[in-house]
Symmetry: C2
Subunit: 326 residues, 2 copies
């Protein structure tokens, strides 16, 4: 079977079985935002890797080199945040370069990496540069400390718990549409698309305040909440009226003729956190960290969207899967 037929998640399921099993020092393997390993002295580290490929994950036509480097690191820091981890962290960067790439562009990519690292307590400590004949890629790995013995997982959601999110959703998708339409990167949504801000502080604090599960929004709210549901063996309801949408998203959507609410449900790459916590903890998390309560965990295995009257809405589209177009 070809990769394009099996799809990303089909492949991951097949490979996952090969990587499972207990190993010395391995606390948590495949199936979450990061692996968790234990050092010789008993401390926990989150360990994660991600790559972006030209023509698949970004288009140089509307991705400044500096942003490309910044974001390549930010998405890994975001994975660390979704485990409740934080600084210090360390990153290695493997750059796959076409021979005709400009060295100045490359330096801008590195400047973006270093700038992101400085903001979020991550030292870029080295890596590798290789030749890639057809398309540039950046593969980043990150190892970061997890304080204490607990961390946030995808598989700890239980029926009755509340679903919360940081910040606002849909901005990044609308910013991307804005840029693709030739809009300037001074648009706030475009900035959010190019320079996502991983929620490192919120992840760690939410863990302290009793959140049990988390994931970062890379594939879209419904899709990523679906990952939590799948790993936890539960379903979820999303209250569409409660999904936080920024004024900038509303304005940008209006100009683009897009639906900001749809962007907030399906749009990816916001790198906000979806957090799950017991219902009685939700108010303090909401007020203490400025989160929005957007839904609750249910029995079953579906992610359903409810309107203000509690009526189920028909969501006819699913998120973006990398190997299957559209």
């Amino acid at each position: 079977m070809r990769v394009e037929e099996a799809g990303e998640f089909g492949i991951i399921a097949r490979l996952r079985a090969m990587l499972e099993g207990e190993r010395e020092g391995l606390v948590r393997g495949i199936g979450d935002d990061t692996a968790v390993i234990r050092d010789g002295a008993g401390g926990l580290w989150a360990y994660t890797a991600d790559a972006v490929v030209e023509g698949v994950h970004f288009d140089p036509a509307y991705t400044p080199w500096h942003s490309l480097g910044y974001k390549a690191l930010a998405v890994n820091v975001s994975d660390l945040a979704s485990m409740g981890g934080g600084a210090p962290s360390f990153a290695l960067v493997v750059l796959g370069l076409r021979g005709d790439a400009e060295v100045e562009a490359l330096e801008e990519v590195y400047r973006g990496l270093v700038d992101c690292g400085e903001e979020f307590g991550c030292a870029v400590v080295g890596g590798d540069i290789v030749r890639s004949p057809a398309s540039l890629f950046i593969s980043v790995s990150l190892v970061g400390s997890i304080p204490g013995e607990r961390y946030l997982t995808r598989d700890a959601a239980r029926p009755g718990q509340a679903v919360l999110v940081t910040g606002t959703l849909g901005d990044s998708y609308l910013g991307l549409r804005w840029l693709m339409g030739g809009g300037s990167d001074s648009n706030v949504c475009a900035r959010r698309h190019l320079y996502p801000r991983p929620r490192v502080g919120e992840g760690g604090k939410a863990l302290e305040m009793g959140a049990t599960s988390a994931i970062d929004v890379s594939d879209g709210l419904l899709r990523d909440l679906g990952h939590i549901c799948e790993e936890s063996g539960v379903g979820a309801e999303v209250f569409i009226e409660e999904v936080p949408i920024s004024g900038d998203a509303e304005a940008t959507a209006l100009e683009l003729g897009e639906d900001a609410r749809r962007a907030a449900l399906f749009g990816g790459e916001d790198y906000e956190l979806i957090l799950v916590a017991d219902a009685d903890r939700a108010p303090s998390l909401r007020d203490g960290l400025g989160l929005s309560v957007v839904g609750r965990i249910t029995e079953g295995n579906e992610v359903r969207v409810l309107d203000a009257a509690g009526k189920r809405l028909d969501t006819d589209r699913v998120g973006y899967e990398h190997f299957k177009e559209g």
Copy 2:
């Protein structure tokens, strides 16, 4: 300036300056086989990453998928070995796949990764799968424990010290030539090319026995010894008669019409270790670990090759640099 004009080492020098500086927990940054980081409890970890790209680092025509996975991990384990580190270690694998790749091939790649990990105490704990339109790539990162407070570096070589190597050299290059000529992978040199065995045990033991510097042979003996010289600000002499060459390399070279000695000096990808130690430690290292004493560190900044009579030989070719052909 374009990447192909600047060359790999030119680019690395430019980027290196951007990544230097002290950071919390960072013991050793860019400029060695691995970065070294300190965990919260004071323990040291080696952290490294490498990538292989189809058409640049391997040709699927003579690289079995299983070998591709095995080797992609082995080269990272070898970097760990060259710091004197060992098990346990943990690896993340980012696969960049064409949509027309076969899932079965992919599973073979993973099987190779897992098999290598099991042999060398490395748990493959996850990673990412992304689409790569034109060429397959595998980007592996590895974090592994360093016992104690010391590790082997590239910059600790001093004039008068001895240069030693593990195993034999040139086999991998000759094995590659063999495969490229249509030869079967049952040839011992071909096996060594496809399944390099990182010297994890030897690295750790050499560190215990007083070795100070090390590097693994990825670019060839002269080139990699040159990296040690550059980082240490020294030169070196290599005694050509002492460079260890296997009977299989001699036989394969004969069949191919190649020069086994030249292969041993210039051939890459043996993943043996070059070790530097005080001259009075050399005999015990040689006898205890089965190493060969192949040269000595000198003043200056050149790597010179001497014949049995101590006469300098003319080496008219340098190793392979990725961005400059030939």
